[in-house]
Subunit: 193 residues, 2 copies
């Protein structure tokens, strides 16, 4: 997606090796026009699944905005997995998975309430980043626990120099990345159709 | 807002005294059509500020979707305060405040990067819930630190039987709540224009 690639090229920072910071338009400050364009692009890429998708699944917090932008096009609800232990306002009956965060070097529990995801669901997973694929593996585990079907995975930015995308594609997952960064220095985007 | 009141009346749960659970359409599973309607309603309520608002400020995670829906109408970016300690992908230079969570009975730090909020900003704060007003006090503290201007506060659901809304209005803050729940049992909504 040209628009996203341009924003990355002109604004994103690489403050440390392997780290790409897009908090000026996506992860902290959110550009709503870009968000809307990303939602439309996800719809275009997964339009074949229109009518089959029952829910869009993501993880809090930075996946929520993008998931909502896509969900508006598909006219389906967003379900976002919560991080950390459950609290008294959250359903105790959850599907859950442990997710390794490489940026924070920690292990986090993610969960969704069982009553919001079941065998009747066909799910499109949307997230902001794909690097090692840890969050997506956690979401797939949750989808499998629920007996739901995974239709595809859409991410805003894939770090092509890390293994997550390659592994998912090797498993036959329909993965669409709006921008694939194959190298940070120099900045190289993978050619896509 | 009639639509939101109807959803609360028909779907929300009050699993414990003073607790209102709206995770079936707002806080965990998000109804995108309702979200869009709420964004439009916030725009109608704060339309006088159109052209002055530079950013919509909220707190992760459950405020993000509603803030984005409102921001799309005002055509401004969303800035969401992050919870917890900073990590290496987040700017260390932050405005921050401590926020007491009454539901979780804990103290959380919320912060925004200094470079995203400054004296040039006029801010509309949007959040999902207003009860004791702790999160909103934290956001106001951050706005004050940044030297930015607070134009108003919009919340989806105000618990009218808790003091946050009364205190904010007493201070002259322009507060708009899409639904004010004055009593949970029996369920009573405050009449609004």
């Amino acid at each position: 997606m040209r628009l996203l690639e341009e924003r990355i090229a002109h604004e994103a920072l690489a403050p440390a090796p392997d780290v790409l910071r897009v908090d000026m338009f996506l992860n902290h400050l959110i550009d709503t026009a870009l968000l809307d364009a990303m939602g439309r692009e996800f719809y275009r890429l997964f339009e074949a699944q229109r009518g089959r998708v029952t829910k869009i699944l993501t993880v809090e917090a930075s996946g929520i905005a993008i998931a909502c932008a896509a969900a508006a096009r598909f006219d389906v609800p967003v379900l976002f997995a919560k991080k950390g232990a459950s609290n008294k306002t959250l359903d105790r009956e959850t599907w859950s998975a442990a997710v390794r965060s490489f940026t924070k070097d920690s292990l986090t529990n993610i969960s969704v309430a069982k009553r919001f995801l079941g065998p009747e669901d066909s799910v499109l997973v949307i997230d902001d980043f794909l690097a090692h694929g840890a969050a997506l593996r956690g979401l797939r585990e949750i989808i499998a626990q629920a007996g739901a079907q995974l239709l595809g995975v859409g991410v805003a930015i894939e770090k092509g120099f890390q293994p997550g995308g390659r592994l998912l594609r090797a498993e036959g997952i329909h993965l669409e990345s709006l921008a694939i960064v194959d190298s940070l220095d120099p900045l190289i985007f993978r050619e896509q159709n």
